[in-house]
Amino acid sequence: MVENVAVSQPVAQPTGFSKRKLWNQGAKVLIWGSAILTCVLLAFIIGYIFYRGVPYLSWELLTSQSSYVKKTIGILPNLMNTLYIILVAMVIVLPLGTGAAIYLTEYATNKKLVKLIEFASEALTGIPSIIFGLAGLVLFSEMFGLKQGILAGGLTLVMMVLPVIIRTTQESLKTVPNAYREGSLAMGASKWHMVRTVVLPNAVDGIVTGCILSIGRIVGESAALLFTAGFGLVLNDFFTALESSSATLTVALYVYASERGETNVAFAIAVILMTLTLILNFSANYAAKKLKN
């Protein structure tokens, strides 16, 4: 084996122009370029929307409803509708989604079935939201006979965010160490007792994050709601809104921009939506960090 040992020779430092250096420089420029472009785009969109929208934000816009008689525009009904639809969708999807996730990670023994369900829920997240709208229209309006409104819209959104809740909850359940489960079962705890006392408290951060992100999606959704929740701009109380045509903020943005030609109002709504989204994203981060400790 001795003859195989290579005699090391000092290698000359490469000087001047080399292919390797060129590649390195090129890659650096590309990477930096992409990063800067992304930031510039984001800054431009946010900046432009605020530039166009902020001047038209007013207390009156936020606290009144549109009136043809007085020729005023107000988006209070749409703000309320957005809140209603968040409420309806979350009240249904949260127990459903966490329940499904708990079943999949803690109870299900048929691994193939679990894989299939996971695949299905992953595929669901990739479906364009207008198709959820169409499905919602057929399912809730035509089959179940619901009128256009918050309930039909909320149920459609449930289908849409259910996979999000399931996946985020599953991921956080999987981070709970098995040693906790064993420790609990070895004390004679029943399975559900173990899940409730040891698993869920340690996964709550992921569940809350999933909820906040889902609310973000609900706030931002428009296509799925066009057919199901409708375009109504009238202020209703919660129970009336369930079955009367009710535009959320995003749908109202569409209505004002394209049908009424009120571009300025559309930009003002956009400012509100962007601010809400930002707040939701920050609170998701904050909640995840806070609850982890």
Binding site: P177, A179, E182, G183, S184, L185, A186, M187, G188, T197
Partner: protein, 251 residues
């Protein structure tokens, strides 16, 4: 010697792998029984059959009887939660829950329906005293158990197991993740505990088996090769394989 558990013709398969072959042994009451043998010999698997923790493993198949309290613990009518309350377990790595020291100890009693604060206080204090850790933690019962040292965490886990008043305490290499001083404390504790409880422990450490166990079971490749009093096994082993193992010829 009083017997607390009788294992009869126990066989266990993980899928196609036949991991335990016809195990027959009587576990003596109020004694420390050590299970020894090389890695993969089935000693931990055997330990986990005693409180049915193997039920959690997929594709596991068990035949034979384990008689405890005049009943086969694998009989359909046996309530596993009751069984595991009677037969506590301490794991290889300390696994306190991410809760306060108090809540860790109170976990078991609460699980089994005790809610009275007075009762829980008494149980917590008694369990921590039994596990010889009361003096170290009595002033910080409401701080997180995760802030304790590894050795303290393991004694906390023992206290947690004692809090539901088991008959038998199973220890699965419970000192292997600890430093020598903590190990010493847990060994002393085990010897103390056998007055009230029966201890069955898996250990990789021959000296530990000699130091604290009364009976010793030597496992090899899924067979129980030899079961006898510890001093007999280490002074005049009956089986050639036992002798080879304890004199360090393999393992």
């Amino acid at each position: 010697m009083d017997t607390i558990m009788e294992v009869k013709d126990l066989n266990l398969w993980y899928g196609d792998h036949h991991a335990l072959h016809d195990i027959n042994v009587d576990i003596p009451k109020n004694q420390i029984t050590a299970l020894i043998g090389p890695s993969g010999c089935g000693k931990s698997t055997f330990l986990k059959t005693l409180n049915r923790m193997n039920d959690l493993v997929e594709n596991v198949k068990i035949t034979g009887n384990i008689i405890y309290n005049n009943e086969n613990i694998y009989a359909p009518k046996v309530d596993v939660t009751w069984l595991r309350k009677r037969i506590g377990m301490v794991f290889q790595k300390p696994n306190p829950f991410p809760m306060s020291i108090y809540d860790n100890i109170a976990y078991g009693p609460r699980t089994h329906g005790i809610t009275s604060k007075v009762k829980l206080d008494t149980i917590v204090e008694k369990s921590l005293k039994d596990a010889a850790i009361w003096d170290e933690v009595k002033d910080r019962l409401n701080t997180s158990a995760l802030g304790m040292s590894g050795g303290q965490q393991q004694r906390l886990c023992i206290a947690r197991a004692l809090a539901v008043e088991p008959d038998i305490l199973l220890m699965d290499e419970s000192t292997s993740a600890l430093d020598p001083i903590s190990t010493g404390k847990i060994e002393e504790l085990a010897v103390e505990l056998k007055k009230k409880y029966t201890v069955v422990m898996v250990t990789h450490n021959m000296q530990q088996a000699v130091r604290i166990s009364d009976y010793c079971a030597f496992f090899l490749l899924g067979d129980l090769v030899e079961f006898s009093k510890t001093e007999e096994m280490f002074s005049m082993p009956k089986d050639r394989r036992t002798e080879d193992y304890i004199t360090g010829r393999f393992g």
